[in-house]
Symmetry: C2
Subunit: 1004 residues, 2 copies
């Protein structure tokens, strides 16, 4: 930046500060409760966490008891066991807390917090909002109105959201005439350029099914409800700004903005804006692309540039998903980006009407001075601030620039609280300009410093830690999960249809057995078909008989000694190669699942990702466990504990996670030095065959992995009872699992080992909805857990247990949400649900659907016709613990809804089945969450999230009771099951002479 400009900016900033000297945002005013509490929160991170969480849950606390209980749970955890004094502050004065009972105090706290929320909201009703908008205009500020909304989880809710806009617009329309335009008003425009009516709208709320994977569906789904709103605005001569939300909606939002702007109906009406977020690394690219598009189309547009309000969640989500951090990670970087982007916009002010939304005086001053330097006319840019925040800044802005628009949310307090949390975060973040300026009184020079200089200072003081991964054992980097599917990437969205088309093309191939590295065709064949169109035979699969099982076992036995005698690292390297191959071929491998078992794109992709995770994780685990551990430190004695393989492992795989689970069991067996006879599910033999090609290319020696599909009725028991088998790794139904266990327990002549059976079996998993659950999240979590991949997961939610007080609200929204799901072939990413895997599954689900009608009250049953194996989606209420629908695994899209009198009863019911696999709780009560942690006894318990999709290494997976025997897959104990421990003890004393080693425990 040229030094003159920088100096001008700083001078401008100083003048700005001078003009507001002595003023402070009301939220920091320590004379009031809010200011006191904010002050305490900024000093005390733990209190801040509790406070913001409490604000979040507050609207759900509809009874006094509930409120007192939560205040106690959130704030009385300390040693004193007492509520922090700051929360009670002012009680004596106000009389609210005098000799106060808990309930009274609760009411006071609620009232104070609701007061905080109201400060940021222009009104709770349309009437109040419109009245206040008028007042705002009287104060000289323009507005943009925004309707607060819960996340929309159903199409009904999206309709309501659209209707809410239409309602407020109608109300404003009636008032509009009374509002005089600001400045040299021509054409009823403020400042000669901006419509008096301005609305901002969140696109994702307009289509409950919007998601990156269904890009086209999402764009059109949103537009369908946005058009009437925009039409109305156009009719009123107003302006619309399409808000930018989380990154996952960015591409969709840009696309729908373009379509709406270029729509013949609206193309001649210029008052449409979009928002870009300076904190995203991609934004410069997006901006340039938008400008080019606008120029090419000849379409001027408005652009609000913000710093971005989702930094915390964007960075956290990216970390969780394994994606690169999408944002700048240091605050000055975002500030720098804003300055750079602002210049770019101002340079294109003929095309782009600039809306600078920031409370940062340096940022504002930069825009003013840059506009001045570039000679941008005043009516080509305006400033925006949030209603209720940064009052001194907006006041200063009004003085200096004149053109200030306030962003004015209105709506109910419930969604208002979510908005409040975001605003509190913004005000109290360590790096907040407002906090630094007004709460901490930082030096103006620093506040007005060029962010590039600030960054340089910060980097000097806290240099970034070196990026090199800490090496773990044997030079391997630490394990990381494969990134989850990211359908914001356009290339991935287009790769799927191409891969699926290629598979259709190949349909009908013959799959041989592969034994000892040799393909072997048998006469007995079984087709594997597309469940969405069973006439499409994907492959004819050769079936093994007993003779072939013998051959496979012999090949595995023959390969054993050499494989066993490789080092753990050598075996691990084969897995790592296999992982790299699967990573390269991930879309093709996922597409196979889409066609063969009807799995949705994202879940198919993540299944392959999980297979890669197993390869990567077990490779490292094998090296870790393969390193002998010294036991004891006594001198003269060396004890080493280590593990070695047993021999031949039979891997019997399911069809529902057809690559991940097959690969996990197989990888565990082979990386520990065993050899494998692999029997894939007949319903997923084509996916299973993928392992053959992956391992072959990875250089696994012939005979270590033998592909041996066959009919369970013909070869199942034979394989299990065979004396050559030492370990059986099985995933499937409880019935088959228990049979395997029983058969394998008998020792047959010639058998070397007592067989180890590792069996992952069924589940009857419950999600509990507490009376303070965040319903926006709970509905989405339940729907995904219950109906993702048609409920055909051992982890799937098949019971939802709702605490009485929440029941009606939850069930109503849930039913609507389920009714909103698109059902159809998994090939089409629009569909959230597809056919079940085969006719037997279909028949079973239909039986349970009939049972649902007997045992309970069916709230929803969606029958899908078509050539595929479609099974009804059923939501059935009135289920009690003794019902079969509360006890038996269905393995399909049937969800039992149970109404529990209390959280304790919900836990008891949740535990009341023969299974103990997964489960979950949506609750914001710390005590209830703790109780669940202790007493909701399932293998994998999830708090405040869905109960499926366990990640290798992070959520080792598996249950107990009749859900499984064995240690959790993807966890630190899993590989032990495939090995025998050995200890070698050496006496190192010879003739009294004992070399003493560094790690010996020695005298003194």
């Amino acid at each position: 930046m040229n030094p003159q400009l920088d100096e001008a900016i700083r001078q401008r900033g100083k003048a700005f500060f001078a003009s507001i000297r002595g003023e402070s945002p009301s939220i920091f005013n320590k004379g009031f409760w809010t200011g006191k509490v904010m002050d305490w929160a900024m000093q005390n991170e733990a209190f801040k966490v509790q406070l913001f969480r409490f604000v979040d849950v507050l609207p759900y606390l509809t009874t006094g008891d509930n409120l007192s209980r939560h205040i106690e749970e959130y704030f009385a955890g300390g040693e004193a066991g007492d509520i922090p004094a700051v929360l009670k502050w002012g009680a004596e004065k106000s009389g609210l807390f005098g000799g106060v009972a808990a309930k009274l105090m609760g009411k006071a706290i609620r009232s104070n917090i609701e007061g905080m929320a109201r400060q940021f909201i222009v009104g709770e009703t349309t009437r109040e909002a419109v009245k206040n908008l008028g007042k705002i205009r009287k104060d000289g500020f323009a507005f943009t109105v925004d309707l607060l909304g819960e996340a929309t989880v159903s199409e009904g809710e999206s309709d309501a959201y659209r209707d809410g806009y239409l309602e407020v617009l109608a109300a404003i329309e009636a008032e509009q005439a009374h509002w005089k335009p600001f400045g040299a008003g021509t054409d009823d425009l403020d400042w000669g350029s901006a419509p008096r009516v301005n609305a901002s709208i969140k696109p994702s709320a307009l289509y409950s099914q919007a998601r990156p994977m269904d890009f086209e569906g999402s764009v059109e789904g949103i537009l369908a409800r946005m058009r009437p709103v925009y039409r109305k605005i156009m009719a009123m001569g107003g302006a619309l700004c399409i808000d930018m939300e989380q990154l996952k909606y960015k591409a969709i939002t840009i696309e729908l903005f373009k379509r709406l702007r270029a729509d013949p109906e609206f193309r001649d009406y210029p008052h449409l804006s979009i928002v870009l977020q300076a904190y995203l690394r991609e934004t410069e690219h997006d901006l340039r692309e938008l400008i080019s598009w606008g120029r090419a189309e000849g379409l001027p547009f408005g652009l609000r540039l913000v710093k971005g309000a989702y930094w915390d969640s964007e960075t956290v989500v990216a970390k969780q998903m394994g994606w690169p951090t999408p944002t700048w990670t240091r605050k000055p970087e975002s500030d720098m980006a804003h300055e750079k982007l602002a210049r770019l916009i101002l340079e294109n002010s003929d095309l782009v009407y600039f809306q600078c939304a920031s409370h940062n005086i340096r940022t504002i001053a930069n825009v003013m001075e840059t506009a001045a330097e570039l000679g941008v006319p005043d009516n080509r840019f305006e400033f925006q601030a949030l209603y209720g925040m940064a009052e001194p800044v907006r006041k200063g802005l009004l003085k200096v620039a004149g053109r200030v628009r306030l962003y004015c949310p209105y709506g109910e307090l419930l969604p208002g609280m979510a908005y409040l949390v975001r605003r509190l975060l913004e005000n109290t973040a360590n790096e907040s300009f407002l906090r630094q300026s007004f709460a901490e009184g930082a030096a103006e020079d620093l506040l007005l410093e060029n962010p590039a200089a600030t960054l340089a200072r910060e980097l000097a003081a806290h240099p970034p830690r070196p990026k090199a991964e800490p090496a773990t054992l044997d030079g391997l980097t630490a394990f990381r999960d494969e990134p989850l599917a990211d359908f914001t990437i356009a290339e991935l969205r287009t790769a799927f249809p191409a891969a699926i088309a290629a598979l259709h093309h190949k349909a009908g191939q013959t799959l041989p057995l592969v034994i000892g590295g040799q393909a072997l065709e048998t006469a007995d064949r079984l087709p594997t078909v597309n469940p969405a169109d069973p006439t499409e035979i994907l492959a004819q699969v050769c079936q093994a008989g007993m003779a072939e099982v013998n051959q496979a076992l012999a090949a595995a036995e023959a390969a054993f000694a050499d494989w066993r005698d490789k080092t753990p690292r050598q075996r691990a390297d084969v897995l790592l190669k296999a992982a790299a191959i699967a990573r390269r071929d991930i879309v093709a491998l996922a597409a196979t699942q889409v066609l063969e078992v009807g799995k949705q794109w994202d879940q198919a992709y993540n299944d392959v990702g999980e297979a890669i995770d197993f390869l990567e994780y077990y490779a490292r685990e094998a090296v870790r466990l393969g390193t002998p551990r010294r036991m004891g430190r006594e001198p003269g004695e060396k004890n080493h504990l280590f593990y070695e393989p047993k021999g031949v492992c039979a891997v019997i795989a399911p069809w529902n996670f057809p690559l991940a689970i097959a690969c996990g069991m197989t990888a565990a067996a082979i990386v520990t030095g065993n050899t494998v006879v692999f029997k894939p599910s007949g319903l997923a033999a084509l996916v299973g065959y993928g392992l053959v090609t992956i391992f072959q290319e990875a250089g696994l020696p012939a005979g270590v992995f033998n592909f041996c599909p066959g009919r369970g009725s013909v070869i199942g028991d034979y394989l299990i009872e065979h004396p050559a088998v030492s370990t059986i790794a099985f995933t499937g139904s409880m019935e088959v699992g228990l049979r395997i266990q029983e058969k394998a327990a008998k020792v047959h002549p010639g058998q070397r080992y007592c067989k180890r059976v590792i069996a992952e079996m069924g589940g009857k998993n419950a999600l509990i909805i507490d009376d303070d659950a965040d319903l926006d999240e709970a509905i989405i979590g339940v729907v995904y857990s219950a109906f993702g991949f048609q409920g055909q997961k051992c982890s799937a939610c098949s019971r939802v247990i709702v605490v009485d007080a929440m029941y009606e609200r939850f069930v109503a929204r849930l039913t609507e949400a389920c009714a909103s799901l698109a059902i159809g072939p998994a090939e089409d990413p629009t569909n959230a649900m597809g056919p079940v895997v085969d006719a037997a599954g279909q028949a079973k689900v239909r039986e349970y659907a009939a049972l649902a009608r007997q045992e309970g009250d069916v709230l929803l049953e969606r029958q899908i016709e078509g050539p595929g194996f479609y099974a009804p989606l059923v939501v059935v209420a009135g289920i009690r613990p003794e019902h079969r629908l509360a006890q038996e695994e269905v393995f399909g899209p049937i969800l039992s809804v149970m109404r529990a009198a209390s959280f304790d009863e919900a836990i008891a019911w949740a535990n009341s089945t023969p299974f103990a696999l997964t489960g979950g709780v949506y609750s914001r009560s710390p005590k209830h969450l703790d109780k669940a942690r202790r007493e909701f006894r399932v293998g994998n318990l999830y708090l405040n999230r869905n109960c499926v999709g366990a990640m290798v290494g992070r959520q080792p997976f598996g249950g107990s009771k009749m859900s499984g025997v064995g240690s959790k897959s993807g966890g630190p104990d899993y590989l032990l099951q495939f090995m025998e421990p050995r200890v070698v003890t050496e006496n190192t004393i010879r003739r009294g002479f004992t070399p003493i080693d560094a790690d010996d425990e020695w005298v003194e």
Copy 2:
């Protein structure tokens, strides 16, 4: 010390040094191979280890091939893969290595090392020895002759050792007349006081069965062979010095010295000496006690004071056994002790004839000056040095003091090598006076410094590390094994007979069931008897029927929830209390085993020790595993892996480790939060009842541990198949174990968990004797492993596989050793072996004894008559892998001897049974040891030691194949078997707000 004396000592020392200026012990002479090699060894610790180990094995390398192979294995391990140049040094000059083949080089190295050994030995034959003793006297030195000997492992060998002394004395007798006494000889005494003939003798070699536990038997056993030797010496007018060996023989040696000295036959003959070691902390006490005794008895005696030659092994052994370090740990402390003890002796010079044995000039000077100060007459003390060592010192001594005696070992090179290793260690130790003086040329001032000052300097430079144990989880100290039985402690030796007597007194008591904390008597009773005298009924044991099993299971189920909900630390604390109780009652608990199952004192004591170990170890393990582990470090997500109990565990215990194994299985189950129904073996119900009293006193809640003895035929299957049982922990025979496994695999109605069976079963364990095995150790190890507790251990050695070249030598010594064992009631510590546990065991052993006569050549069969269940001790040779005696577990004192053509064949045979529990190898070939490590596939492999007595935490115990299923007891994976893993995942993001924790992986 008074400064004048100290100054006089230093002046005396300086004069001493001056008198030998320029001289050096031959071993450090770098002009020769030995000096060169010593120099290299002192610079290179790894080479030193290999060199000394090679010297140790050298006499066993009787073929050129074997020799070359070992040279290669010991020395060619480095990167160069070549033999170190130093070993080849001088080859060109000597012509020995010119263009040399491996065999030739081997011969040269052997010849050089044998030369080293000869330097320290006065002769290999009696004739040579006597001749050289004469030469020594010609040089002005007196001598004491010592017969080198292998460890004696049988009474025949002890006889031979005694005879060796008689032979050399006879030979000396013939020469004695030609030797003129030194000094003013009167009565043919040297220096007017010392007999010309002087012999030193190692007492332990005179009785092959000597051991601290059998104190009286050891004293008398040794005296029986020492008396004729001393008688002969007295007849010759000579003197005898009883050498002091390892600490374990000290009390025995002092006692036998006193008895011999006070024996009416010898009481009037004063020329008997004993040795004390200054490095032992106890020595001052021993010395004062001996002086009091001498004064009380009016018996003057001789006393050789040495620093002590077993420092390395005493400290190492103490660490391994868990005993306090018996020695001073810093060299100057031993030097200080020598000075203090020397003054004490010299103060009593009227009673004690002082023999100062040291090569340390400071030590010598101290004795001279202290004697002068005290006015001790010259003929009341003499100096001693080792033949072949420290030549300058002995020369200087001769000049200064005149009275110098050389300690002269003679005998074959094979035992000579062991002696050589000790001498090399002494010469090359970092703190060796000789090394510092002559190899490193340390300053005389430092060498002559008062050791108290040296110590102060050392402590200042290297202060002792703080003694505080590093705290582990939850404030618990690190686990340590209970100290093993130490029968050098007189109180322990006397406690056993008292405890046993008390038990005899209580015989006939009734043992009730204990269910839910209540004693319950049933009508059906079974006696438990003393196997050494089956007419002695120790107790009448109430037997449970199915009704009582149901009661016990109900009590266990009722107690479960409360116990489960305790914290791991609370449960661990109960175990730690139980451990303290068992520790307090250890002798009484051990005595019960002596009587009820016929276990020898030491093994019974160590069995209780192991029970304590299990309590202490599992307590800590439970806390470790009870601490939830965070999985993954992604922000916004908390995944914790932890474990929880399942319910009721059936513990079915064996009689052979009646407390340890019962306690281990029980402790594991309860500390993890399960409750237990415990069925002890009917043969060890009294021992099993010990757990009831221990746990009751420790405060275990009622119902957590239920004592439920019963007939297997009545309640066995019922208990195993019961749906209330979730885990079965069993130790016993393969037949029963496999039956349990099969029965438990079937799921019965009402059953919550697939039952986990943890079964430790049988073994058919082999020890391999390689062609270079150290036989002294191998024989002792095999005998103890095969016949300790009558072979009734699953870990017992029941096959010894001997490599052909070693066969004859090994088998001859083994058979003699077995013939030397005393057999009789375990009450009497003389007996190394007792009766088997019952008539059935007796009958089974007899059957296998008969089979031995059919399948092999019985080398030894010892039939013991008596009222007890004595079974024959059998050593049978000619057993081949296909014989039943090579395949079937006998569980009694029958040892099969197998002759293998090679080490490889030995390994193959060792692996050829259905079992894989323990095994061992005696070998000094690094390659063979490595091969065994890899390919001798048993659960617990022991190199160069016996194969029994695995220590908790150090040697986690358990096998595979038909020896067991489950993880090793006493190891880090064991407790996992009693628990189910759970993972709780919490999504900590609320409204995008995510508290970031310190251990989160965060941006940048």
